[in-house]
Symmetry: C2
Subunit: 618 residues, 2 copies
C-alpha cells in the first residue's frame, strides 16, 4: 500500500510520460493540439491509473468502463492514455496524423478504444449519456467518463445532454470539464470564472465538484466521490486548469492553440519535463470478463394484412410493426423527441418501455445518445419528423464517421403534410442522408411496403433512413410482393409504353392517376415505384429506357429538386447509356399551408403536371 505522497509522486511520473508523448507525437505530425492535451493530463492520469476498469483485449466488453473524449482535438491525449495503459507501443504515436495511421487528427473508430468519433464539439456528453443510460437500464456496473473542453460548453447540445442525464438519473455518468480558459481564437465566454460553470451544471441537476485540476490528490478525491455517487444525479468535476500545463512557455498562453512544437521547442519542453520512464504503465483495473453481446437474430417475421385499395396510415402501421420487431429483437431500442403520438412509436413505448428512450424536444442529443447505444451493439431507431432530423445534421454526420449502426426514420415528409406549412415539411432530407456515404434510403408508398421495408432496414448493418408519409394512402401491395434494398416495383407496364414515370412515396399515387388519365387519351406510360432511393434500381431503370418507345424517364418526387431521387437516377444512368432524357419534377420553391392536393399542385408535382409533361414527349 503506497502512502499518499508516494502515490502523488508516481502519478506525477506517469503524467510526465503522457505529457512527453503528447508533445512528441504532435511535433512529429507538424500539427495538432498539444496544449489542449496538457491541461487534462493530470486528472486522466489518476483516472486511468486508479479508477478505469478495462479489458484492453476487448474494447466492446460490456463491463468495461467508458471514456468519451468530447474535446476531440485532444486526440493525442486519448491515444497516449491507452498507450501508457499498454494497448500498443508508444513509438507508434509518431505516426500521428499521417496517412494510414490509426492515430488520426481527431478520434475515429480506426483507434478501437474510441467510443465515438469526436472533433465536432459538444457531442461527447450525449454519447456518454447514451452509454450510461444503457448501463442503468441493463444493470451494468460500468461507469462512463466524459472529458469536456470549456470552449465546447457553449454548444447547446451539452445542455440537452445535461437535462437528459439528470432526468434519467444517470448517477453512473461522470463528466470532467477541463476549464483551461482558452478556446481557439481567444478566451472562452467565462475564462477562469468557474462559478459560471458550477451554477449552470448545478441548475441542470448535476452534482458539482470543483477542483484544481493540477492537484493530483484533489483529482483523486473528486474521482473517488464521483465514482461512489449513487444518489440519482450525474456528477461533473469542474477543474481549473492551464492550457499547456507542465511546459512553462506553453502554459496559459493564448498563442499556442492548435500548434505543434518545432524540434527545438520540443527539446526545451522535454528538458523541462525532465527524466521520463516510458516503462511506467497505468494499472487498469481488471474486468469481470464478459464478451460484448451478440444477441442478434435476423429471423424477424411479422404478418400484417391489409385490404387492397383501403386508405391506411403508414405511420400507424410503422408504429405497430416497430413494436412487433422489438419483441423479437432484444437489441432494438427506440428514441423519440416528443412526437411519439405522431410517429406512433408510442406503441413501442407501451410495450417495451425499458428500451424506449424519451429524449424530449432535443434532437441533437437524441442522435448522439444513439451513437452511445450503437457502440455497445444496440440497434437504435431514431424517430422524429423528417424536418427535425435536420436539427441534428452535424450529429448524423459524426455518427456516420463513428460507424454507428443507426436506423433513422423521418415522418411527415414533403409538401404532402399539408396545413402545417413549410417549417414542418422534410424537403431536403434525401439530400442530407444521400450525401453521407453508404446510407440506405427507403420510402414506402403504402402500409404494406412499410412492413416489407422495416426488416430490410433492420437487417442492414449500417446507416439507413426511411421516409414515412403523413397522409394515409391506399394499399397497392400484397403480402406476396417482394422488396429488397436497391429494388423497385413496376406498377404499370405495356408493350408500347411511351416513356417511364419514376415516383416514390406520395408521388406514386400521382403517377398512377396520371397513367390512368393518359390511358384515356391512348397514351401508355410505364410507372415505377422507386421505394429504394439509395441504392436506386439502376437495372430496372435501364431496362425502362430500352423498352419504352422513347428513352425518357420523368422522375417525380415530393422533395426539393437538388439532391433528391432525381439526382440518384441521373447519377445511376449517366455514363451508361447515350440518347436519353431524364426530366426531374420536384419542389422548387418554399411551400406554404393548404390541403395536400393544393400543395402538390402548387409545387408542380401533381398528376395534372405529370400528364402535361408526358404529353410534351408524345
Amino acid at each position: 500500500m503506497k502512502s499518499q505522497s508516494e502515490l502523488v509522486e508516481l502519478w506525477n511520473r506517469k503524467a510526465a510520460v503522457v505529457r512527453k508523448w503528447c508533445l512528441i507525437s504532435t511535433t512529429a505530425a507538424g500539427s495538432g493540439h498539444p496544449t489542449s492535451c496538457l491541461s487534462a493530463v493530470d486528472i486522466t492520469t489518476v483516472l486511468f491509473d486508479k479508477y478505469i476498469k478495462y479489458d484492453l483485449k476487448n474494447p466492446l466488453n460490456s463491463n468495461n468502463d467508458r471514456f468519451v473524449l468530447s474535446k476531440g482535438h485532444a486526440a493525442p491525449l486519448l491515444y497516449t492514455l491507452f498507450g501508457v495503459a499498454g494497448a500498443y507501443p508508444l513509438e507508434e504515436l509518431k505516426t500521428l496524423r499521417k496517412f494510414g495511421s490509426r492515430f488520426q487528427g481527431h478520434p475515429v473508430p480506426d483507434f478501437k478504444f474510441t467510443e465515438a468519433a469526436t472533433g465536432s464539439l459538444g457531442q461527447g456528453l450525449s454519447v456518454a449519456a447514451g452509454l450510461a443510460l444503457l448501463a442503468k437500464r441493463e444493470n451494468k456496473t460500468f461507469k462512463t467518463f466524459a472529458l469536456l473542453g470549456d470552449g465546447e460548453l457553449s454548444e447547446g447540445q451539452n445542455w440537452e445532454a445535461a437535462n437528459f442525464a439528470s432526468y434519467h438519473q444517470l448517477d453512473n455518468l461522470i463528466a470532467i470539464a477541463d476549464i483551461n480558459r482558452l478556446a481557439q481564437s481567444g478566451e472562452t465566454m467565462f475564462g477562469h470564472n468557474l462559478v459560471s460553470y458550477e451554477n449552470r451544471f448545478r441548475a441542470f441537476g448535476f452534482k458539482v465538484i470543483t477542483i484544481d485540476g493540477h492537484d493530483m490528490l484533489a483529482c483523486d478525491q473528486a474521482l473517488q466521490t464521483a465514482v461512489a455517487n449513487n444518489d440519482g444525479s450525474p456528477t461533473i468535476i469542474i477543474m481549473k486548469t492551464y492550457k499547456g500545463k507542465g511546459v512553462s512557455f506553453l502554459e496559459n498562453s493564448d498563442q499556442w492553440h492548435g500548434k505543434g512544437l518545432d524540434n527545438e521547442q520540443l527539446k526545451n519542453a522535454l528538458e523541462e519535463i525532465g527524466n521520463v520512464d516510458d516503462q511506467l504503465k497505468f494499472e487498469l483495473k481488471r474486468v469481470h470478463v464478459t464478451e460484448g453481446e451478440t444477441l442478434k437474430n435476423d429471423d424477424v417475421s411479422l404478418d400484417f394484412s391489409f385490404n387492397p385499395g383501403e386508405k391506411t396510415s403508414l405511420r400507424k402501421v410503422f408504429g405497430e410493426f416497430l413494436a412487433g420487431l422489438g419483441k423479437q429483437r432484444s437489441d432494438l431500442w427506440v428514441l423519440d423527441a416528443d412526437v411519439k403520438n405522431s410517429t406512433y412509436t408510442e406503441k413501442f413505448c407501451e410495450t417495451l418501455p425499458e428500451r424506449f428512450v424519451e429524449c424530449f424536444i432535443a434532437e441533437q442529443n437524441m442522435v448522439s445518445a444513439a451513437v452511445g447505444l450503437s457502440r455497445l451493439g444496440k440497434v437504435p431507431f431514431v424517430v422524429t419528423f423528417g424536418a427535425f432530423l435536420t436539427r441534428a445534421a452535424d450529429q448524423i454526420r459524426m455518427a456516420r464517421v463513428s460507424n454507428a449502426n443507426i436506423k433513422f426514420i423521418g415522418t411527415h415528409v414533403g409538401v404532402s403534410i399539408g396545413e402545417d406549412g413549410p417549417s414542418q415539411m422534410a424537403l431536403e432530407d434525401i439530400a442530407l442522408f444521400g450525401a453521407i456515404p453508404d446510407t440506405i434510403i427507403l420510402q414506402p408508398a403504402d402500409a404494406m411496403a412499410v412492413t416489407k421495408l422495416m426488416p430490410l432496414t433492420l437487417m442492414h448493418e449500417g446507416f439507413s433512413y426511411m421516409r414515412i408519409l403523413r397522409p394515409e394512402t391506399p394499399i397497392i401491395y400484397s403480402n406476396l410482393d417482394e422488396f429488397r434494398i436497391g429494388g423497385s416495383k413496376v406498377l404499370r407496364k405495356t408493350s408500347n409504353d411511351l416513356l417511364t414515370i419514376v415516383a416514390t412515396g406520395i408521388t406514386v399515387f400521382e403517377a398512377l392517376k396520371a397513367a390512368d388519365s393518359l390511358e384515356a387519351d391512348g397514351i401508355h406510360v410505364r410507372v415505377v415505384d422507386c421505394y429504394s432511393i439509395n441504392p436506386i434500381d439502376k437495372k430496372t431503370l435501364n431496362n425502362c429506357l430500352k423498352e419504352t418507345e422513347r428513352p425518357i424517364i420523368i422522375s417525380i418526387e415530393d422533395h426539393f429538386a437538388h439532391g433528391g431521387m432525381g439526382d440518384f437516377i441521373g447519377s445511376a444512368l449517366n455514363g451508361t447509356i447515350n440518347s436519353k432524357i431524364i426530366k426531374k419534377m420536384a419542389v422548387e420553391k418554399i411551400s406554404r399551408s393548404g390541403s395536400m392536393d393544393k400543395l402538390l399542385g402548387d409545387a408542380g408535382i401533381s398528376y395534372l403536371h405529370l400528364v402535361e409533361e408526358v404529353k410534351k414527349y408524345s
Copy 2:
C-alpha cells in the same frame, strides 16, 4: 386614468376577443393548436395593450418594438394579436391554414408582422437576441419580446441564446416562458415545476420574474419591471399557465394538443367565454416615425493585386476583403463562432468591432441571430468552417423560410484540409445548401476569384453560400477577369479537345495538372472552372459538349458524390441534349488524416485518377 380594477376588466374583455378568434380560426381550419394559444393570451393582451410600441403601417420601422413568437405553433395567437391591434379585419382569420392565406399554420413572412419564420422549435430566443443586439449596438430604444413554449426549452439552442444574451448584456431583451406543463406527446420534462426553469435561467445570467400567467396584474407588473430593467441582464418572465386556459373542457388536459374544436365544441367554448366585443382594440403605443434603413450602396470597389502563380491564402484574402467591404457598406455585419483566426474574420473584428459579433462555439444561435439582424436590413456574413455549418442545418432551413438575406461562408472544405481528418471536412455542404431553393453557391479557386466573388455574393439579395479552401493555391486569375453568378471560366481550350473536365475549388488544380500530363501524351482536354456551382453555367457546358470531340463531361469535386456540383451539372444538362456522358468523380467514402495530396489520391480525385479516367474515352 383607469383604476386597476377597470384595467383588469378591460384586459379580460380584450383577452376574450383574442381567445374567441384563436378558437374560431382553428375550427375553421380544421387543425392547429388553439390550446397552445390560450395559455399565453393573458400576458400578450397586457403586452400589446400597454407596452408594445408599433407602427402598423411599417413593420420594418426601426423603432418598432419586436415580438418574436418562438412557439410557432401558436401562430393564431400572433395573428389575432395583430388583428385586435387593428392590422386587418378579424374575419380574415377564418382563412387560417387555407391555401393562399397569409395566415399559415406556422408564421412565415407572408404575414408581414412575423419577425422570423418559426415552427421548428427553440429558435426564437436567438432571433430575438439578434434583434436586441442590433438595438444595443445602434442605440435604438426598441425592446424585443420573445414568447417561448416550455416544451421547446429542451432544445439546446435556447441555452446558446441565453449565454449570448447575458454575455452581450441584452437588458432590452424580454423573454416570456409559457409554462403550460404539456408538450405534444405528454408532460414536459419539468411539468409545472417552475423552479427548474428559474434555476436554469438564473444560472445563465437572466433576471427571473415568476408569475401566475393568468393574473393580469401580475403580468402587468412583471412586464413593467422587465421593460424598466437596464442593469445589463436580460429578463425572463416565467409564467405558470394552463394549456387551453379559459375553456373548462380544454384547460390543462393532455388530450388537446394540436387539435381544433369541432363546431359543437366551438359553440360550447364561445358560450363559456361569454359576450365578446370584437370592436375592442389594443392601444399600441405610437412610434417616433422613422423608416427602415436603406443605406445600401452597391458600388463596392476594392483593388487587390496578386503575383500570377504565387501560392496565396484564400482565407487571408477573404478576411482582408471582408474588412474592406465592411468599411464601404455600413449594413454589413459579421458573425463568428470562435474561429476568427482561422477564417480571418479577425481583420473585420479589429477594424469594425461594432459590427462584429462573437458567438463563441454555438452555430445554431449564430444563424438564428443573423436572421434577426437580417430582419432589420442588415447583411450578416455568417462565417465558420463549412463542416460546422451543418450544426445549424435546421436554422439555415428556417432562415430561408424567413426570406433572410444571409451570406454563409464555409471554410476548410473537402478532404483538401488534410491532417485534421473527417470531423473537420465539409463534404456535404453543397448538398445541404443546394437543396434549399434559390441559394447561390460559389467556390473560388484562387485568391483573386475570392475578391471577384465577394461583391457578387454581397449584391445578390438572398441566400448565398461560398466555399473557401484551407490550402493556399497559386493565382490563376488576373484583375481583368470577369466573374458572374452563373458563370464559369474555360481554362484550357483547343480546337481538338477530346472532352471536358469540369472542376471547382481545389480540383481545378488537379484538372490543370491532368491536362498538362495528357497534353504530353498528345491528348487535349478542355478544362472549366465552375466557380458558380448554383446556378451552374449551363450554356458553357452545353457548348463544351458540342465542341469537343466526344460529348463527354467529367466532373471532379472535393465533395461527397451525391448532391454536389456533379448533380447540378447532370440536372442542367439532362433533358437538353441527347448522346452525352456525364461522369462524376467525387468523394465516395469517409476520409481520414493525411496530407492533402494523399487524401485527394485516397478519395480518387487526384490528377492521376483524372488522367486515367480521361484515357478511358480516348
